[in-house]
Each structure stands twice: as structure tokens, then as C-alpha cells.
């Protein structure tokens, strides 16, 4: 793992200096602020739509803090994960394509350190963005709708974060294997869709990482949640993806 610290520092600086800082953190923060606001305004907006034929009525439930958190978690599970898959299609391969990896890897920086520093820097970005976005969501929800089940929301976002890290690890592997970022992003959408399908079946949802999102929703709603096995398999799948990515990248010619 020679050069890990130096390369991790470069990755974190790069995140702050380039477009990367705008993508995931902006999406998460946007979801954190827009979810309570939309939940709060929705009844009024529907009421003011008007123009309904006589006899038709639309009944909108009272906006609650729980509904705002559910909306936020939904955005994280769809919009943000989709953005993650697209943004990280070239997490490893883009440096190889641009030629910057050749200069770095001709120095005593190990291939494993190269891959793992990229992964860890983005884990930190996701974690910080999730903390900031969730804090913003809870604060705005508290101002508009009351605090509600904030602790459950935090626990649900923690489970989502593990799910996001599983997807990130899968993208690191795909980007180490496939030279084209678009191809890796396409394959990543396939992984995302496969997890969504697996989550629909109770048997697979209870034991695979695909069950992390249903578990997060259950935690938020105060329902019995089966999160232990998905959490364990999620960590195992992430570790396996990283090991495979390092193995493959170590054999790749730059």
C-alpha cells in the first residue's frame, strides 16, 4: 500500500477542486432541502390546482415529518444512486484513459493503493454529504413539520449509506475491468436494476445487499426490519468487489 496517504490526499483535493464536488453532495443536499419543502407545500399546491370537474376531489394526507423523511429516503434510493452510478463510471478508468495514471503509477504507488484511495475518498464524500444532507433535511423538517422520527431517519440514512457504498464498490470494480466509463456506467445501471428486482422478493431481500433499502424504509416506518443479514452481505460484497478490482487493476497495462 505504498503511496496510499499521498494519493488519498490528491483524491480529496481533486474532489474539492473539480466538478465532482457538485454532483453527489449537491444532489444529496438538494434532496435534503427539497423533500420537506415539497411535502409541506404539496397539499396547498394540489388545492390551488383547481379546474377539477364537479364531483371530483383529490384528498391529500396531512403533511408530516415522517412523510418528509420518506420522500428524502426515496430520493436517496433513486435519484442519488442513479447519479452515483453515472458519476463513478470512470472512477478508475478515466485516469488510465487520460494518461495521468501512467505518471503516478510509474512511481512507487501500488496499484492497490491507487484503487483503494479512490474508493475511500469517495466513501468520505458520500458520508459527509449524507450527514450534511440529512442534517439539513431534519432541520428544515423540524421548522416546517416538527421533528418527527428523526432518530429513525438517521438510522435509515445510515443503512442507505451502506447501500451506496456497495454500489460505489461495484462501480470501482466495473471501472477497473472496463476501459470505457460509459460501458462501466451502463453495467452499473444493470447492477442497480438487478438489486431493485432482488429487493422485490422477500427471500433475496432478507439476505442480500438489495435488502438494505427495504430495511431502511422499514426502520423509518417503525416496522420490523431485517437489516443484519443485508448489512453483513453488503460489507462482504463491497470487500469482494474491492479485492477483485485491485486484483484486476494490478494486472492491467497502463
Amino acid at each position: 500500500m505504498r503511496g496510499f496517504g499521498a494519493f488519498l490526499g490528491k483524491e480529496l483535493h481533486e474532489t474539492a477542486h473539480t466538478w465532482r464536488i457538485w454532483v453527489l453532495p449537491a444532489f444529496i443536499l438538494f434532496s435534503g432541502l427539497s423533500s420537506p419543502l415539497i411535502t409541506f407545500l404539496m397539499p396547498t399546491l394540489v388545492d390551488r390546482l383547481g379546474g377539477m370537474p364537479q364531483g371530483f376531489t383529490i384528498s391529500v394526507p396531512d403533511p408530516t415529518a415522517l412523510a418528509a423523511y420518506v420522500e428524502y429516503l426515496g430520493n436517496l434510493g433513486e435519484l442519488v444512486l442513479f447519479a452515483l452510478v453515472i458519476a463513478y463510471g470512470g472512477i478508475v478508468s478515466s485516469e488510465v484513459r487520460s494518461g495521468t495514471a501512467a505518471l503516478a503509477l510509474s512511481k512507487p504507488l501500488s496499484r492497490g493503493a491507487f484503487v483503494l484511495a479512490k474508493w475511500l475518498s469517495q466513501v468520505l464524500v458520500i458520508a459527509v454529504a449524507a450527514v450534511v444532507g440529512t442534517a439539513a433535511c431534519i432541520a428544515l423538517t423540524a421548522a416546517l413539520l416538527g421533528v418527527g422520527p428523526a432518530a429513525a431517519a438517521v438510522a435509515a440514512v445510515a443503512l442507505w449509506s451502506v447501500y451506496a457504498i456497495v454500489m460505489l464498490s461495484a462501480m470501482v470494480l466495473l471501472s477497473a475491468v472496463l476501459p470505457a466509463p460509459a460501458a462501466a456506467a451502463g453495467a452499473g445501471i444493470g447492477v442497480y436494476a438487478s438489486f431493485a428486482v432482488l429487493a422485490q422478493f422477500e427471500a433475496t431481500s432478507r439476505i442480500t445487499p438489495a435488502g438494505l433499502m427495504p430495511a431502511a424504509q422499514a426502520v423509518l416506518n417503525g416496522a420490523p426490519a431485517h437489516w443484519q443479514a443485508p448489512l453483513a452481505t453488503g460489507i462482504a460484497v463491497s470487500a469482494a468487489c474491492l479485492a477483485a478490482a485491485v486484483w484486476r487493476f494490478a494486472r492491467r497495462e497502463i
Partner: protein
Amino acid sequence: MRLIAASVSIGSPLIVALLAVLALVELGLLAWALLDLAKRPADRVAGGSRLLWLLLCLFVQLIGPLIYLAVGRLPAAPRALPRPQAPGGEGHVARAAAALYDAAASRARGAAGDAPPGPEADAERLGPAVELVGVRKVFRTTAALDGLSLSVPEGSVFGFLGPNGAGKTTTLRILAGLARPSSGAARVLGRDVSGAGGDVRALIGYLPDVPAFYKWMTAPQYLRFAGSLFGLRGDVLEARVAALLDLAGLAGVGTRIGGFSRGMKQRLGVAQALVNAPRLLLLDEPTSALDPIGRREVLDMVAALRGRTTVFFSTHILADVERVCDTVAIIDHGRVAAHAPIDELRRRRGGLSRLAVEVDEPPLLVAALEGAAWLRAVEVAEDGGLRLATDDLEAAQRELPALVAHLGLALRRLESDELSLEDVFVDLVEGAPR
């Protein structure tokens, strides 16, 4: 069912303030993006189309201006930076490179308690810096290297010549640990390149043919990053960075690398390759993007490193090789066509010395030269001069002026016209079996 159950109503000051902030942010970003777009020339807009960015900003609320501001603006081309006046005048770059090595060597001696190098270190130093044995590299069905074997003594300046596609860059990538041979052995300073990993890479400096840098960094940031990958820290790193910036003529340049010209990038590439004061410096076409002054400085620097480190210098510019290299290998189709000190290569291929002669009546001299014992061939050049080939240069130089005087001719030119490396190169490459 009540429409609003919360204590905050749609018209409350909090909501109005929130909506106002959102609207202000959106309008501010839109105004910023549109003003920037109006001022910016089309060649500094990503994709080159201002209309597309305008439509994106106007019709994709909030996100459009954000995307434009994040990735749509290209950096300005750098001002034509005057080449910094070297404090030491001519030869400054060479002296700076030599000083860098001397300082690194002194620091290494200090770290080792000024202990003299032991026999083991001597033995290691006496071995070849680069050793390639039967290296093959196959890409699908094409052999880029086809049994390449050569040995480069430590401390030498080695020229690695070949036409485009001969396998020069592939060889350097293997030595830098970026590619692996399909078969054969590649050793650097006695260690197998693919097996030793970081231990070997810690001893080398590498400049690829087209160096690519992180565009968002400045030159000092990149050199600090490169140095930190070698474990350099603190004052040592800062001193090294300052020396290399000076050497590269980039001291005081605060522009991001994304705005550098190709020549500036090439000079930065040379600097980063020296950051660890490497025992083997691999340079792939180091002068290809440089202006004449930059080229001379790099060649002077390479020459100054002779004896301090081993320089493995790939190029197709024959004049560069003739100027600085001790030994040369010419490769073609992935094989070594010739490998010898330059003078020996000239002798081996030529065998004969050449003389360029100009007189006022060339046909008279040609007729008089018939039967001269030292003459092997004579031809009339396009400029009317004569080109003589001889196996006894001394006799030719002694007898030719006497013969010209005897004929009553005016001798306008008599020069030794040595076989150039270009002659050898063309001869070898064009004569190689396909």
C-alpha cells in the same frame, strides 16, 4: 381533512423567506452563467457552442447554470510567459540538475552516517542499469517487441533510436512497470521489473512521450504530489520542489497546468521525473515538444547527468543522440538492429572515411585520381563538389593537396565528411528484412 396540519402556513414569513432565497440563488446562478457566457469567446467554451450552453442555462432551471459553471468554462490559454532569466545564465539548467543529484547524494551519505559504500553496493552499481533478455511483447497478433535484448551500463547516457512503431515506447513502458513482457526478462538495476514493483520504481524517473497531468493542479502542487509518492516530506521536499521549478523554468508560474503550453508541460514532465534524483532516468522523446532553447537546455541537462545517473533516452531526433549519448541502440520491428558506442557504430557500418573536396575543375582532378592507392570511390555531388571514400585518411589528406597544386587547380574546400548516425540509421532500417 385539513390541507395543512402544521403550525407553519404557506404565507408564513419562513416559507416566503425560503422561497425567496431559492429564487435568488437560481436567478443569481442564471445571471452569473449568462454574463460569463456573453463575455467568453467560443473557443473557451466546452464543446465550442455557446448557443447550446445558453439553451441549457435557460431551459434547465438551476441545474443548467450549475453544469455550465462547473464544466462548461475552459481555462484561458496562458500568457506567453517569458522564459525566466536563469540566474546562472547559460548552462544553468545543466548545473541545477547536477546540483540536485549532488545534494541528493550528500543527503543519502548523511543518512547512512557517511559510511563508504560497501562491496555489495559497489557490486550492484557495477552491473547493468538496464538489462533486457529476449523480451517479446505481443498485442493480439502483432509483436511490438520481438526478442529484444540489450544491456545499458550504469552511469551512461544511452540513446534508444528507432522509427515510429519500432517498439521504443513499449520498451520504456515495460521498464517503468506500466506493461509486462509477454516473454523474456526485463531487469532494472539488477531487479526484475515485474516482480520487484515499488522497489524498482523508487529508483527510476519516467517521462512519457506525452505527459498528462492533473489539470487543476499548479506546477508546485504537482511536484509536491510526485515527491510525496516517493516518501519525500518537509524541508527536503520543499527544497527539491523549488530546485526543480527553477530547473524547469516554472518558478513563479501560478497558472494551473490545464492552461500550460505543450512545452511547459514537457519541462514539468522532465522536472517530475527528477524529483527522486533517480538512478535510472527513462525519457521518452523528451525534446519533441520543446523550442530550440528548451531543447538545448534538456540536452545540456542530460549531458550533465552523465556519471551521476543512467539516462535511457528514446528519440527519433538523431542529432540529439549524436550530441549527448555515449552508446546507442537502433531498434526496428521490435528487434535490435545495432547496439554499440556511436563512434564504433559509425566505423563498423562505414569502414571507410569520407572527404568532401571542391576545386575549380573537378573533371581534371577525377582523372588524376585514377590509380591512387588510398582511393576507394569517388563521386560528383549535386553541388559540383567531389565525395571521396578512402581507407587511408592520413595518406589522402597528405597527397590530395599536393595533387591539386601539381594540376594548378584552386583548392576551395577539403573536409573530412564523416559517416553520420543518420546514414547508419537509414542504412540499417531500410536494409532490414521485412
